[in-house]
């Protein structure tokens, strides 16, 4: 099993930076790619529990290992957030290097209910991000379609991170923990190509033309 300590560090950084990120969110844990044994599985679940992350189901491991309340999906519970554990990852790097680590290219739309969580670099979405969907990047977020959902850049502590989209209609954008809701969005931004950055801890928006 690849080390998860670094991944947990990144998770802690997100939780510190980003508006009670996991508060009240049911999380479904997919451990298929990690292939942990029984003890490791329980260690991961416990590690999330002490972080007050509400794990409602665990997939990709032998259901017999789990507390019955964490039975895999498909057994009656509503599916909540799906958080993919990484397969193998490099040991944690200094935070400042966050955006220089690998970027992740998503070649399909991000649908309502889906979360893309990439604490190690930029996320590039070739399609749209739906209302009710969410992209979280340690680095910058690039959306080549319409951004209707939430985009959180610099989520592991990187005020230099940026958000770009071809058409802006976001529910929420956040950089390094500072955020702007749809309600706070200047109306002339809607539907425009937009760049979002942070200046003195405040969100600044520019229309790209």
């Amino acid at each position: 099993m690849p080390p998860v300590a670094g991944w947990l560090d990144d998770l802690d950084a997100v939780a510190r930076q980003s508006l009670a990120f996991f508060a009240n969110r049911p999380v479904v844990l997919n451990l298929a790619r990690l292939a942990p044994d029984r003890n490791e599985t329980n260690a991961i679940i416990d590690a999330l529990k002490i972080r007050n992350i509400r794990v409602i189901a665990v997939e990709g491991v032998d259901p017999a290992w789990l507390d019955p309340s964490l039975a895999p999906l498909g057994s009656g519970k509503e599916s909540g957030k799906v958080v993919d554990f990484p397969g193998a990852r490099a040991p944690a790097q200094p935070r400042a290097a966050a955006s220089s680590r690998g970027s992740s290219i998503i070649d399909r739309p991000v649908r309502s209910g889906q979360t893309i969580f990439h604490p190690e670099g930029d996320v590039i979405v070739l399609g749209s991000v739906s209302s009710g969907a969410e992209v979280i990047a340690g680095g910058s977020v690039h959306v080549y379609g319409t951004l209707r959902g939430r985009a959180l850049a610099g989520a592991t502590g990187n005020p230099g991170a940026l958000i770009f989209c071809r058409k802006f209609q976001a529910e929420l954008v956040s950089i390094d923990g500072s955020y702007m809701t749809a309600e706070q969005t200047p109306p002339d931004l809607i539907g425009k190509p937009v760049q979002i950055r942070l200046k003195n801890d405040a969100i600044v928006t520019d229309i790209l033309d």
Partner: protein, 270 residues
């Protein structure tokens, strides 16, 4: 080997059962053999729409629990002989459908029928996942309004994650069927425009079924609309969708408001 189609939506009441029956009947009318499977355990309404409710002896759950053979449970339609129904159980609880049971039944149906159409329950929970699990193709039924489109988007995400096919890295053909489209309300801007729906869902469109009295009347007399009122706009929309499913290319027009003198007068008065 036949093709398994799931008819799904996320949101309830958008027209999954109506569409399953109509598309199933339209495919069967072309001479293909069709099995309609009702996954909505506890509600059982595909049999009503097909007018078969008084002929149900065994249902899906009986087959899974070994109380009946699949061939005993399949009900042949009285009007179209290539159309068959596997009814849902009204009396069992939802957990009576097991993962292995569903796999076995859908697997056997696929060997016998050209088309196996799975009418999904609403929601994004277990029943909906079971209905989509073995599908080769999905028809995502959407009404042109925000909550329906959003739920459909969510279901499409699940189709990409939770079906056997996508787990094995194979592609899954997905189509949007817009139902209950009201041209008058669309013209007034009270409904999402077709283009907006398609832009959000980014999937190909397989048909637009207008809001219509024919659909309601047909379901009240227990007939799919393609049989009850074949010349109606909605019946034609379903028949065309069935041809597109079979791979034919059929032009698709967005229904518009028919301008009548009275229509014009009323609109001005209102």
């Amino acid at each position: 080997m036949g093709t398994v189609i799931v008819v799904t939506s996320g949101k309830g009441g958008v027209g999954k059962t109506t569409s399953s029956a109509a598309i199933g009947a339209a495919l069967a009318q072309t001479g293909d053999s069709v099995a309609l499977v009702d996954f909505d355990v506890g509600l059982r309404n595909l049999d009503l729409v097909l007018g078969a409710e008084r002929r149900v002896v065994y249902d899906f759950v009986n087959v899974i629990q070994g109380q009946a053979k699949l061939s005993q449970a399949l009900i042949r339609d009285k009007r179209i002989e290539t159309l068959h129904l596997l009814a849902a159980s009204q009396t069992r609880d939802k957990d009576a459908l097991t993962e292995e049971g569903v796999e076995d039944v859908v697997g056997s149906l696929r060997e016998t029928f050209d088309w196996v159409i799975c009418d999904s329950p609403a929601g994004i929970e277990r029943g909906a996942i079971l209905a989509m699990r073995h599908a080769d193709m999905a028809i995502v039924v959407t009404n042109p309004e925000v909550s329906s489109v959003r739920d459909s988007d969510r279901i499409i995400g699940l189709l990409d994650a939770r079906t056997r096919r996508t787990e094995q890295g194979e592609a899954m053909e997905k189509h949007v069927l817009i139902t209950r489209f009201d041209p008058t309300r669309a013209a007034r801007g009270d409904m999402l425009a077709i283009d907006d729906v398609l832009e959000i869902l980014s999937l190909p469109l397989i048909g637009i079924v207008p809001e219509s009295q024919s659909v309601l009347k047909a379901s009240n007399i227990g007939m799919p609309v393609v049989l009850a009122d074949p010349s109606s706009d909605s019946a034609r929309a379903y028949a065309d969708a069935a041809r597109r499913i079979k791979g034919e290319s059929v032009d698709l027009a967005v229904p518009t408001v028919r301008r009548s003198l009275f229509g014009g007068l009323f609109r001005r008065a209102a």
